[in-house]
């Protein structure tokens, strides 16, 4: 046909056409724009982006900033009152003997040095009396005497010199080190009659790509085979799509697809010999699915969020055998 041939020529011309904008021009323009994008202009763009698209984020950020500022400012204001933040008076917690004890144990800290000369003469006895709490009016003053003599008497015994014999005894005939007696080690694992354990792998939408790779590795370690069509997608740095095509040598052929989910928990039940017997999972649901055996064939799709098509939790598991 005439038009088909013409179209072929047109495609050919489009493929072979020289670029109108050379690489050098584009690279130069790109490099010239970069400092602006990364600098003030970039910040302006970032601010605009935030204000337009993330009003919730901005408001929550400002709330956090406000809370932090308030807590810091209140913290600094109350720092002068931190000596006794609780509504407990000093006289209630100072024992009645404290003043006397301090005076006697340390001659430098005396009532003379601690008090101003104006109140030294007459007010000292009054203050002392006032410091004695009412609930202990008759308690006699006790002196805390540091029994230095007693402590000195209980001195630890002198250290004994530690002697380490570092000379190896050589065989007299060969001059070599003596051979250690051979010990037969039992490498066989203990035979557990019943071993069962559960493991759960959790991945959330905020996890990065490394976590997804970790999930793939974990599945591999558990004995699952991942089909090459298994894939995942991130949207705005969040895991928005995950498609797992799980296979197993026991016959498992299970496709699990999730979109817009908050989290995925994959739960495996290990049976005897530590091998996976069944698995279950949940995306945003409250409960895990029923245990899925390793000879199951089926698929299941979960779509969450307003921007996604389909119903959430569409089920179509077809367990054969």
């Amino acid at each position: 046909m005439k038009e088909d041939k013409l179209l072929d020529n047109l495609w050919e011309a489009a493929r072979e056409e020289n670029p109108q904008a050379s690489y050098e021009e584009v690279a130069k323009k790109f490099q010239a724009a970069l400092p602006i994008a990364a600098g003030a202009g970039g910040m302006a763009w970032f601010g605009k982006y935030l204000s337009l698209n993330n009003i919730v984020l901005v408001s929550s950020l400002s709330l956090v900033t406000l809370a932090t500022w308030w807590s810091l400012s209140s913290h600094s204001n109350t720092s002068s009152n931190r000596v006794n933040p609780l509504p407990v008076k000093n006289e209630e917690i100072i024992p009645p003997v404290a003043l006397d004890t301090v005076e006697q144990s340390n001659p430098l800290i005396s009532s003379d040095t601690l008090r101003s000369p104006e109140i030294q003469d007459q007010q000292v006895p009054e203050i002392k009396e006032a410091l004695v709490p009412a609930q202990y009016p008759d308690t006699p003053s006790q002196e805390l005497v540091l029994l230095e003599e007693e402590i000195l008497a209980e001195q630890t015994p002198p250290r004994q010199e530690l002697k380490i014999d570092s000379h190896a005894v050589l065989e007299p005939e060969s001059g070599e080190l003596p051979k250690l007696p051979k010990v037969e080690l039992d490498h066989t694992l203990p035979k557990w009659t019943h071993y069962q354990s559960d493991f759960t792998f959790v991945i959330t939408k905020n996890d990065g790509e490394a976590k997804v790779q970790e999930l793939f590795k974990q599945l591999w370690d558990w004995g699952f085979l991942l089909h090459t069509k298994s894939k995942y997608r991130f949207h705005k740095s969040q895991l928005s799509y995950l498609f797992l095509w799980l296979k197993h040598e026991n016959g498992l052929d299970f496709k699990l697809k999730g979109e817009g989910f908050e989290r995925l928990e994959l739960h495996v039940r290990l049976g005897s010999q530590g091998l996976v017997e069944t698995f279950s999972y949940r995306f945003n649901q409250e409960e895990f699915t029923k245990d899925i055996p390793l000879n199951c064939v089926g698929y299941k799709t979960y779509s969450y969020g307003p921007g996604f098509r389909g119903m959430s939790g569409k089920t179509s598991i077809n367990i054969e055998n």
Partner: protein, 174 residues
């Protein structure tokens, strides 16, 4: 650090520049200046370079970004599309000789503009940029069969449009 990143980015971009430029020129025709599309896409790609998992897929990465840029621009200028469409039809009708070598590509872009977006995109990616169907399916986030269908329908529609244009020309030139 940023200098090194720039160098890495440009080293990735240089080998795919021609293909990317052709794609942008064909795809952005009458929607927005293709230089702006290239420039905007490059800046976004540079910012999001950490998201690129496989360096060999850099062109797909760039094209994916440029499609989104174009889509955003398209949403903003939806009213203007009406005028542009009419203008394009007039331009095609007034084309002096579409077979002229220098106008060939321009004529193709104009004809492509009359196709639905998904079909046009698939055709450009397949015929001009040289992507495989599987790669196009990934870019367009659809199945391979859907891409094949788009290509087939796009080719048919394109042939029909070209046939009409040629008949118009022959009627105009006695």
């Amino acid at each position: 650090m940023s200098q090194k990143k720039q160098q890495q980015f440009l080293a990735l971009y240089q080998p795919v520049h021609e293909r990317f430029e052709r794609f942008c020129r064909a795809r952005a025709y009458a929607d927005m200046p293709y230089e702006d599309l290239i420039h905007e896409s490059l800046l976004i790609a540079y910012e999001k370079l950490e998201n690129l998992r496989n360096p060999t897929a850099f062109l797909s990465f760039l094209i994916g970004i440029s499609i989104r840029v174009l889509s955003n621009a398209h949403k903003k200028n939806k009213r203007m599309q009406w005028v542009d469409h009419e203008t394009i039809l007039n331009q095609i009708a007034g084309q002096e000789d579409p077979m002229e070598q220098q106008n060939n590509v321009r004529f193709l872009h104009q004809v492509l503009k009359q196709l639905p977006e998904a079909q046009r995109e698939a055709l450009i990616l397949f015929e001009i940029t040289g992507f495989h169907i599987k790669e196009i399916a990934e870019i367009q986030q659809s199945s391979e069969s859907a891409v094949k269908q788009r290509l087939a329908r796009g080719r048919k529609a394109l042939a029909r449009i070209v046939k009409n244009e040629l008949s118009l020309k022959s009627e105009e030139k006695p």
